[in-house]
Structures are given as C-alpha cells and as structure tokens.
C-alpha cells in the first residue's frame, strides 16, 4: 500500500509538471490553431536565466525570479513577432516548422552562450521533504502541485471573469468575428504568446531543482506535455490538466509494474489508444475533420 501511495505522489508530481507545460500548449493552440514545438525551450531558457541571476550572480531568489519571468515575457513577444506573426495567414505546417526552427535556435543559442554543463538551481525550501507515514513527500513536488493548482484557478478566473480574458476567448473562437467586434486580434495573440512563455518559464523554474538545468531539459518534458494535451483534448484547459496528471500517473505505475525501459512508450500507447477510442480527448472538441 505504501508503495502505491508513494508511486501515486510521484505520478501526480510529474503529472503536474506535464500539466503546467501543457497549459502553455493549449493557450497558444486555442489562440492560433498552432502547436508550438518550442514550448519546452521556454522552460529551458527560464531555468537558465534563474541560474544566471540566482546562482552565478547570487541575487535574491525573488528578484531573480521576477527578472526571469520578465525575460520570458519579452521572449514570448519576440517569438510571436519573429516566428508566428509573419506566418499567421499560412497553414499550420509552415508554422510548425518555424517553431521547430525556433526550438533548435533557442537550445543552441543557450548552448553557445552558457556552455554545455548541466547546472544546479537550489530548491526554494531548505528541507528536501518529509515523511508522512511511509510516504516521502518531496517539498519541491509539493510546490509544483500547489503552483499548478493556483495557476489553473487563476486561469479560470482570468478567462471567465475578466474582460480581457473574455476577449481572448472570443479571439480564439473566431478571429474574424472578434475583429469585427473591435477586439485587437493581433494584440490578443501577442498577449497569448507572452503569457504562454511566462507559463512555460514558471514550469521550467519549478522543475529545475528536481531535473537539473540542461539544454535538453525542455524537449523531453514538452513531448510528454504534448501527449498530455492530446489525451486531455486541445480545446480545454481542464483537459490539459487532467491529461497531464493521468499521463504522470500512468507512466509511474507502468514503470513500476510493467517495464522501466519502456516507460516513455506508455505515454504514446495510451495516446494512440485514446485517439482510436475517443478521438475527442477527455473533454475536447471533435478531431476528425468536419464534413
């Protein structure tokens, strides 16, 4: 039993990471109908910014955090202008390739600027964790789960109860109509990219103490988060959260009871099964192209 509880905690912790990155995917997808293959690199860049300010320069953690988040906002804006905006009238394919190019660019620019060594970002709390009965709770994972919950709540409030959130929703549902209603569509999309980059950044900073800071850290998480997004359905924020958590739990239990080396396959097997049996995701919209 304690084994199962321990696995469950770990699964939820990992799942919360996937969910956090998946949130960024969903937001951009809803606003632009495009999957951003550089979403993982947002996390990586933010983690490196933290290492630069909090570790190398020894600035206070909170200040470094604000700078890193500010940096991500700027990066999100530049990303929109350079990678998405020029292609906004084209099909999804060139945009996908463009974001792939951006991911190669970001990863290797970081490599050129910072070098290849993996780095350590100390956790926020001194204590690594504590035992509750037989189960060890890692404080950093607890923090990740808490932050994910808060961000989801914030996102819900923001989209459902603020004017700007509603404008964003309108934009994602029908750009032409939104434009006719006087909503600045380009501005809304800009806002989406900025917010997604910030979200990805927060995810990166949160997982850095657990997974370390390396050039590759973004890519693996992003792929899983992408799978989580599909399981949850692209259309829905709640879906992304549940998809992420489900994936984390399935993976952890699959590794424990079926096979460790094939751990990464579970995500994709579940995904394919999902697409075959329930192509609309847990919550999302229809996938098959409309007649």
């Amino acid at each position: 039993m304690d084994l199962i509880l321990q696995l469950l905690f770990t699964g939820i912790g990992i799942g919360a990471v996937y969910a956090l990155v998946a949130l960024g995917f969903v937001l951009i997808f809803r606003a632009t109908n495009v999957v951003n293959f550089a979403q993982g690199e947002f996390s990586m860049v933010a983690a490196f910014l933290m290492v630069v300010f909090a570790v190398d320069l020894q600035w206070p953690y909170w200040l470094s955090f604000l700078i890193a988040i500010g940096g991500m906002a700027v990066l999100g804006a530049l990303f929109n202008l350079g990678v998405y905006y020029p292609l906004r009238h084209r099909t999804y394919l060139p945009v996908i390739i463009s974001t792939i190019g951006a991911s190669i660019f970001l990863a290797n620019t970081t490599l050129a600027l910072y070098g290849p060594q993996p780095q350590v970002l100390p956790p926020v709390f001194e204590t690594q964790g504590f035992l509750v009965g037989p189960v060890f709770l890692d404080t950093q994972y607890l923090l990740i789960i808490a932050v994910t919950a808060v961000l989801v709540a914030f996102q819900y409030w923001f989209f459902e109860h603020t004017l700007i959130g509603k404008k964003l929703q309108a934009t994602s549902q029908d750009k032409e109509m939104a434009a006719l209603l006087g909503i600045p569509v380009a501005g809304m999309i800009m806002l989406t990219f900025v917010y997604s980059a910030v979200l990805g950044g927060i995810a990166g900073i949160l997982v850095a103490p657990v997974l370390f800071v390396s050039i590759q850290m973004g890519a693996t998480i992003a792929l899983k988060a992408f799978a989580a997004t599909i399981i949850g359905g692209f259309g829905d924020v709640t879906g992304a959260i549940i998809g992420g958590l489900a994936l984390g739990i399935i993976e952890t239990f699959g590794a424990a009871y079926i096979s460790v080396p094939y751990k990464d396959a579970f995500a994709f097997i579940v995904l394919v099964a999902f697409l075959a049996l329930r192509p609309q995701g847990i919550f999302g919209e229809r996938i098959a192209e409309k007649a």
Partner: protein, 611 residues
C-alpha cells in the same frame, strides 16, 4: 511540365496515328542529367569524407522524396519518416549480418515491411487530421525507437549493427554511391511524373479539397493510405541503402529528431517536387558542414541553422525550389492557344423508364434539430428539377445527404434504381452522381484543365477511355461547353468567381453524370452571369442531362425548372410542376409570410406565362 505541344483533341477513330506519342523532351533531358550524375558519382575520385556526405545525402534524399508524396502531394503530415527509414535500414542490417542473407533479398523485405507498416499506420490514423495525425506519427516513431533500443536479442539494442554487407558488385564506396544516385534518380523521376498520373491527381485533389475530391469520385481514404504507404516505402528504400553506405546502424540514427530533420529538409527545399527534396536534403547536410568553421563556440552553428530554417519558412513559403519555380514561371512565355475542342457528348440512358432519383422518407437530425424530416420526392429522367425553400429549410442538408457527405438518420435513396443510401461519396460518384458546391470547391493548386480531368476520371465514366489524351480531350470539350476552353491551362486561382463556378460545372459534366446536383449555382453571380447560367442550364438539359438544382433565385428556378419540390423547416410542403407549385398558398406563405399570402403573389414574380 514539358513545353511540348499537346495532342490534337481529335476523335481517335478519325485520326488514329496523328497525335503520335509526344516527344518526351523533359524525360530525355532528365535521363541525360541522371546518367551524367551517376557517371560522375562512379568515376570522380572523391575523398572518403565527400563520399560519406554524398552517400548520406543521396539516401536521405530518397526518404525525403517519400515526404514529397505524403506531404507535398497528399497534404498529410508524417513525423515518423525516420522510423520507416530505420525499418529499411534494420532489415538490411540484421538480414546481412545476423542471417547472412543477400543484400538484394533484405532490401525488398525491408521495403515490404515499411510499406505494410506505413499502410497500417495510415489506415488506423488517417481519419484524423492535422495535429492529431502529427501526434500519432510521433507516437509510432517513439515506440519504434524504444523497441530498437530495448529488444536487444533481435535488434542488438543500442550497440547497433556493425559490419553490414554491401552487395557484391557495389562493395566499394564509389560504386555504391553510384548505385544510390541511380536509385535516387529513378525515384525522383517516378515522383516527378506522379502528379500527372491518376493516383497523383487524386492525392493533389485530396490535399486541395477533400470534400470536392470525394464527390468527384476519389476514394479519399484509400488515396491517403496509398500516399502514406508510398512515403513509407521510399523511406524504407532510403534506409536500406543508408545501412549499406555506412555499414553500421544504431537506434539513435532513427529517432524523432531525425524525423524532424527529414521534414525540415522537405519543407526547406520545397515539398511540391522531388527536386525540392533533393535541394533541401543537400542543403541541410551541407550547411552544418560548411559552418564547421564556427565550431569553436559550441552550439553556434546549430543556432544559425535554426535561424535559417525560420527565415526560409518565412520568406520562401514554397521552399527553395518552389521559389525558383515561381521566378522561372514569371519569365516563361504563355503557352500557345490550345487546339480546338470537340463537341461535349453526354450519354443518357434514355431507354430506361425508371426515375433517376428516388428519395423516400429521408431524415437527417442533428441532435434534437430535424434539419431534414421524412422528405420524399422523385426526379424523373431528363430536364431540370428544382429543390427550393427559404433559408434554413434543409435544402443544402438534403443535398449533402444525397451526395453522401452526411449519413442520413433515416430513409432511403435510389439512383437509377440502385440503393445508394449507405454509399460513401466517391461510391455515389461512381454510381453516376455529380455535384457542385454553393461555396465553390475547386482544387486550388491545379489548372482549370486538371480540375476537369479529375471530373472526367470519375470511376464508372464509360464514355471516355482513361488514358491521358482522351481524358484531356474530354476535359477540353467540357470546358468548351461552358465557354472557357481558351483558358484551360491557367491556374484556377486566376479565374473570376463566376468563371470558377463554370469550371466546377464543367468538372461535373466531364464525368458524364447520371444526375447532376447543383447547389445554388447562381449565388454570388451578377445579372449577366445569371443570364449566361440560365442559358447554360438550358443547353445542359437539352443534351438530355438530368439536373437537380437548389437555389434561392426564383427567376432562375422558374425559368429553367420543369418540376419543383419545396421544403420548409425540413419538411416537404409542395411538389409538382413548376407553374402549379409556385401558386400554392403554402409556398407563397413560406416565402413571404402570412400577410402577403392574402394579396397577389407580388413576391413570386416570374417570367412564367400562365399556362
């Protein structure tokens, strides 16, 4: 693709030998170029380094050409190309090393495996589109990579397979390179010609407009699976040759990252043509090599590479080859006027007395909404039958159910006595149903002629032989019938809205349909265009064609239709001879509301003289 003159569209019987096979200048030039390339590969004394680069480029290019088929021609994304590449490579690697089987036996086995897996993957997922298809192919890719790594007894696991045997005749790198270049040349030629074949046209049609492809008789699903299988096959071929060129393979060479590289190569060079694939592959293999001088700063050259990818996607949307092609096209003089077209023939099975279309109790419900509710009517042979009704009355839904885009909730549809209720759109087209769309659905990347050729190619169209000259002659005849033969070779995007509608009608006519469904053909036309349309419809009817038309334009309908069925709120409210139906109070009320029904039928002013 060649500038050689097209065959005179003469009756084959009257001029049997006249339009002799066109002199294939393009093919000949290609053969000369390819032979030169192979000879160069076989004889130039390259260093080992250059040989390795060239072998890698040639084998990769074959796999990238596979993407030209799937993505370029058929518009389906495939992010598992490296997995299929790996299947070919492992077949050759494991076969020659562990089983000691000849290279020439292993390669086909790999091809068959790749083909089958490609078809299976395609068949199980192609009903999904866009990002979902992308994700499923990524999943397949990841699972296959894990299998290659972890199924150690069979795959050797991460150690990889060393000492792979090349075929006896090609054991040194120089001659092996020549072999790779030869295969590349053959594959590139086949894919270069592919857009002009029936399958290639079907793929392009599916890519351009799936709905229109279905109703013109193309089996969308089968076409996609074929594209996927061919793409996988070519990847397997490239992979098999790759295994022989480096004589060592390991799982990391066939990872997701490599699939992304393949895709980037295809899009960079231009996904529309094998030439683009070759250019993209060459560049992406050479650019990192050229940039090696930047190696002092780790990551810098890959950063530049990433930036270059973005810039090329932004500034050269059709890839490098597409961009070059556009420049060339701008310079190339207009083609000479095409030869005069024949008279369009439409054969109607006039002997049969059975009605062309019988609709019985047809229903289509969307959730609680009964868009079409128990509608029955019959279209008799010859002449024009109109289906009218106010907005939201269920006309277009009825049409979509008739052409198979929606499955009916209930009821039965018979075409020429054959029950087609459960037929897919392309099967209905095969049974003789043609249609046009309210919002025009042409194949946007093609010329007017090609659009109409696809119509002529309709399965079950017995009026024309399915070879290229006959099909083109038939297509020209159909274009001539709607008055556009002079502009047959122009891309459809250069036509006005009204003319695009005429092309769509010509596409349907070329298929010699038993019944032609016209979905609001007058929508968006100005009055002179409407007059022309009216005349055209009369000429079509005069040829004995049976037409079911839906439209708002009462003038047009009353002008041409001999029989009218009226729908309102999804139900049939009137059916009969035009003049009678238009006087029925229920019809007038449906159109003008309660009050007007009492006064004279001012709103339904028609040119119809009282009979």
């Amino acid at each position: 693709m060649t500038g050689s003159p097209r065959p005179v569209a003469a009756d084959p019987a009257s001029a049997p030998a006249a339009p002799a096979r066109r002199f294939p200048i393009g093919t000949l030039a290609y053969a000369v170029l390819a032979a030169a390339a192979i000879a160069l590969a076989a004889t130039t004394p390259f260093s080992g380094y250059v040989l390795n680069i060239l072998m890698q480029a040639a084998t990769y290019a074959i796999a990238v050409i596979g993407l030209t088929v799937v993505l370029g021609l058929c518009g389906q994304i495939n992010l598992a190309q490296a997995a299929f590449f790996g299947i070919g490579a492992y077949a050759v690697g494991l076969g020659t090393v562990d089983l000691g089987v000849s290279f020439w036996l292993c390669l086909p086995v790999g091809l068959v495996l790749a083909l089958l897996l490609g078809a299976v993957l395609g068949a199980s997922t192609l009903r999904l589109g866009g990002h979902y298809l992308a994700m499923v192919t990524i999943s397949f890719q990841q699972i296959l990579t894990l299998v290659m790594i972890n199924w150690i007894p069979v795959t050797h696991g991460p150690d990889g397979v060393p000492r792979i045997q090349r075929p006896g005749l090609f054991s040194d790198s120089q001659s092996y390179l020549a072999l790779c270049v030869f295969v590349l040349a053959v594959v590139a030629y086949a894919v270069w010609r592919m857009p002009k074949t029936r399958l290639g046209r079907a793929m392009r049609a599916v890519r351009d407009n799936e709905l229109a492809a279905g109703v013109t008789g193309i089996d969308i699903y089968r076409t996609k699976v074929m594209a996927f299988a061919i793409g996988a096959l070519l990847a397997g071929l490239g992979g098999g040759l790759f295994a022989g060129s480096f004589t060592y393979i390991s799982p990391d060479q066939f990872s997701f990252a490599e699939s992304v590289v393949f895709l980037t190569m295809a899009l960079l060079g231009g996904v529309g043509s094998p030439a683009g694939a070759v250019i993209g592959t060459g560049l992406l293999i050479l650019i990192p090599e050229w940039l090696r001088f930047l190696k002092e700063i780790p990551g810098l050259y890959l950063a530049i590479y990433g930036l270059a990818v973005i810039l090329i996607v932004v500034f050269m949307p059709e890839g490098i080859w597409g961009f070059l092609g556009d420049q060339v096209k701008r310079l190339r003089p207009r083609k000479p006027a095409p030869p005069r077209a024949q008279e369009l023939t439409l054969t109607q099975d006039a002997a049969s007395a059975a009605p062309v279309l019988e609709v019985e109790g047809l229903s289509k419900h969307f959730g609680g909404l009964k868009a079409v509710d128990e509608v029955s009517f019959t279209v008799t042979r010859g002449g024009i039958h109109a289906l009218i009704g106010p907005n939201g009355s269920g006309k277009t839904t009825t049409l979509n159910v008739l052409s198979g885009l929606y499955t009916p909730t209930g009821g039965r549809v018979r075409l020429n006595g054959q029950d087609i209720t459960r037929f897919a759109p392309h099967q209905r087209a095969g049974a003789g149903l043609g249609r046009t769309f309210q919002n025009i659905r042409l194949f946007r990347s093609m010329s007017a002629l090609e659009n109409v050729v696809i119509g002529a190619e309709r399965p079950g169209n017995g009026i024309v032989a399915h070879d290229r000259p006959s099909l083109e002659a038939r297509a020209r005849a159909a274009l001539a019938f709607v008055g556009l033969e002079a502009r047959a070779d122009e891309p459809v995007s250069s036509f006005s809205y009204g003319h695009q509608r005429l092309i769509e009608i010509a596409r349907a006519l070329a298929g010699n349909p038993v019944l032609l469904l016209l979905d609001e053909p007058a929508a968006g036309l100005n009055s002179s265009e409407k007059n022309a349309l009216t005349a055209l419809l009369r000429r079509m009817a005069a040829k004995g064609l049976t037409i079911l038309i839906i439209d708002h334009d009462m003038t047009l309908v009353s002008d041409v239709a001999s029989h009218i069925t009226v729908l309102n709120f999804g139900r049939r409210i009137a059916d009969g001879v035009t003049a009678t139906v238009l006087r029925e109070p229920a019809v007038i009320e449906a159109y003008l509301g309660q009050e007007s029904a009492e006064g004279p039928a001012v709103g339904l002013k028609t040119d119809l003289a009282p009979a």
